[in-house]
């Protein structure tokens, strides 16, 4: 299992993610500085959370044009797997690798709290195939811009293609624990080929021992299983 974690100035979850990946795979992932222009073949590229480039202009906008991004686009074009968490999700959306946009939280407040997540029963995401969608996941969020927005046509397309992967609260009950006002309670979506996953909650902060929950571990584990098989 070869995993690369892309690091930008202002990334702050890269080390946590590195520990999480090493715990689960037994192999330390490579930390790749954003100025690198090539990415050695990897099974999974991860864009971690943080405040890349100080969130200047728009969250993720400057990182989306960093030198490493061409290599990441090539990786995606080859059908490579990518996980973007929090700021990583914002970067993937600014880079046009995921649809929609992450706007300011509805209440204009930074939210840092545990959330309950439902895994969509009809998700086309290739990366979490082995995840039991009848179980709720408890994974924390920490963001100021996580309010998922898309125009009505795009939202319809995402919903009907099964690109919604995670929703806040209980899937059958709207607005039951949505922390940021995101449309349709969306917490995570995937690309149309199911190989790129962007999510606001931080799985690397729900790894068991010392954390409130171990459900992030479960989610990451399912991604590694999907890649191996």
């Amino acid at each position: 299992m070869r995993v690369a974690i892309i690091v930008f100035p202002g990334s702050n979850c890269d080390r946590d993610m590195m520990v999480a990946v090493e715990t689960l795979t037994g192999r330390r992932p490579a930390l790749i500085w954003h100025k690198q222009t090539n990415l050695d073949p990897v099974d999974l590229a991860i864009i971690p959370g943080g405040f890349s480039f100080g969130d200047y202009l728009r969250c993720g906008a400057l990182a989306a044009h960093a030198p490493i991004m061409n290599a990441l686009h090539d990786h995606a074009a080859r059908g490579g797997a990518i996980l973007g968490v929090c700021n990583g999700f914002q970067i993937l959306s600014e880079a046009g690798m995921l649809p929609g946009y992450l706007a300011r939280n509805k209440e204009l407040k930074f939210v840092c709290k545990q959330t309950t997540l439902s895994v969509s029963s009809d998700t086309s995401c290739e990366l979490i195939k082995s995840l039991d969608n009848s179980e709720k996941l408890h994974i924390p969020v920490a963001h100021n811009e996580g309010n998922f927005f898309a125009d009505p046509e795009t939202l319809d397309a995402i919903e009907s293609n099964g690109q919604v992967v995670l929703r806040y609260g209980n899937e059958d009950k709207q607005n039951s624990g949505n922390p940021n006002g995101s449309l349709n309670d969306i917490a995570g979506i995937c690309s149309s080929n199911g190989k790129i996953l962007g999510m606001m909650p931080h799985p690397e902060r729900a790894m068991g021992a010392g954390h409130e929950s171990a459900d992030g571990k479960k989610l990451l584990q399912s991604i590694f299983e999907a890649i191996v098989t």
Binding site: L57, R58, A61, L62, H65, E94, G100, Y101, A103, R104, N105, K106, E107, L108, N147, F149, A150, D151, G181
Partner: protein, 82 residues
């Protein structure tokens, strides 16, 4: 040549910040207030004397970085030399 770029949210795009400002103005008693939009103004200097070229280059900048055209629209104005 100096060019002023104004970037605004497209109509229908959720803007919680503008909504909050709208509410605050209303609570201050501005009951004739009909709406608030908020944007960002960016001034760039471009090495050309040709207005069309300046406009073209500024639009390129907006499309590639300055605006997220999923949610934002932009207008370009040439600053006349004083």
């Amino acid at each position: 040549m100096q060019v002023t770029i104004t970037i605004e949210k497209k109509p229908g795009v959720l803007d919680p910040e503008a909504q909050a400002v709208n509410q605050a103005l209303s609570s201050l008693g501005f009951d004739d207030l009909q709406g608030v939009t908020m944007g960002r103004q960016i001034t760039v200097s471009i090495d050309t004397d040709d207005q069309e070229r300046a406009r073209y280059r500024a639009a390129k900048m907006c499309e590639s970085l300055l605006a997220n055209t999923v949610i934002e629209s932009y207008t370009i104005e040439i600053n006349e030399p004083s």
